[in-house]
Symmetry: C2
Amino acid sequence: MAQTPARTLTREGIAAAALVVLEREGLAGLSMRKVAAEAGVQAASLYWHVRNKEELLDLLGDALVADAELPPRTGGWREQYLEYGRRYRALLLARRDAAKVVAGRLTTGPHVLAVLEDQLDRLRAAGFADADAAMAAYLLSAYVQGFVLQEQSPLSAAEAAGASRGQAARAAGDVFRALPAETHPNLVALADDLTDPDMDSRFEFGLQRLADGLAALLRQR
Amino acid sequence: MAQTPARTLTREGIAAAALVVLEREGLAGLSMRKVAAEAGVQAASLYWHVRNKEELLDLLGDALVADAELPPRTGGWREQYLEYGRRYRALLLARRDAAKVVAGRLTTGPHVLAVLEDQLDRLRAAGFADADAAMAAYLLSAYVQGFVLQEQSPLSAAEAAGASRGQAARAAGDVFRALPAETHPNLVALADDLTDPDMDSRFEFGLQRLADGLAALLRQR
DNA sequence: ACCTGAACACCGTTCAAGT
DNA sequence: ACCTGAACACCGTTCAAGT
């Protein structure tokens, strides 16, 4: 019954196994031992290919953007920039805990580099100065990652135990409405606005503000 | 020698102990056992006051914004909004791993609520519609958290082992410059812009874009 | 009501040893 | 060169038992 040894364990294979474990167990449940098992190998074997867990997570982060589909190169820079943001968000939402993996992780993996290269190319072609193009790219990733991080996280540790986002939002709204109106009049008044569960609209709002801000930059050149 | 038992363990005391451990060991080193030891108690005792580690981190997240100083209520809404962003960033940078703690954590702790209440009050006074005020507040926190998360994280797992940000940035620039110019011409050309270690300027750039975007919103009412 | 001791089922990482 | 077995020093969490 001796299973034939993997013998072909590679960094790509490790990343693929990590993706499977991430989807099944979430980031909190992703251990070196489970990734190793998924790859058909002992935990200690991973350390031949990878310095530590942090480096494995770098691999995973790059693998997460491997199947990114770039927006069509049609229309103005603005529409392309918006589409970039929307697709990046969709990509992160599509995989469990993806934002948590990617958020504070500045990798120079091949897939990340390819996307960045393409995005910079479009921004420069649109007329942005070099430094502004670099900033615009950085800005978009910070916004999308920050947004999805909030979006993917449970509304509170208390609600983590089951409850749809709609229910959780209503519960959060109740918290606001229950506050004393003398001390927190604005929270009481805006309870509905603050807990609007339509995340697409919220995301789009911020994205449009970013694009507006960048557009102003382009006009004054 | 029997140390007098804590007897006065409270949620506030736990949060204070957690702050100390966070500063000393970082988020990765913050364990229930160490927080308990810092509070002069056994690990199991914490579970009387807190459901699990996640709830303890919620407490910690709220405690982190406890000593936030709100910007002066002078000048236009724009300057106040900018100052809000700058001070929030400074607050997160002042404490070790603060952005990681706070990032995907939607708490309704008292300190968080107080800040949000104040911010909404200013935005509404400036003439923003209710929904827009709620969005503007959400947008700022997503941006600042996303930005500082990148800023506080090591530039790459490889460089994590010592090396100033300036050095790390130069190393990252070398990575870009070393890419083949045929496949990654923009990364090669913008290597300096992409790795500019002046994070204050980068942050300010994004912040100004956000304010510009919101200003456009205000004009069209 | 609040805290402890002891246990359970895990972790990441190292390192000699195997092939 | 690559993988394993076994160990080390930890984890979060539970639960009977103490006061």
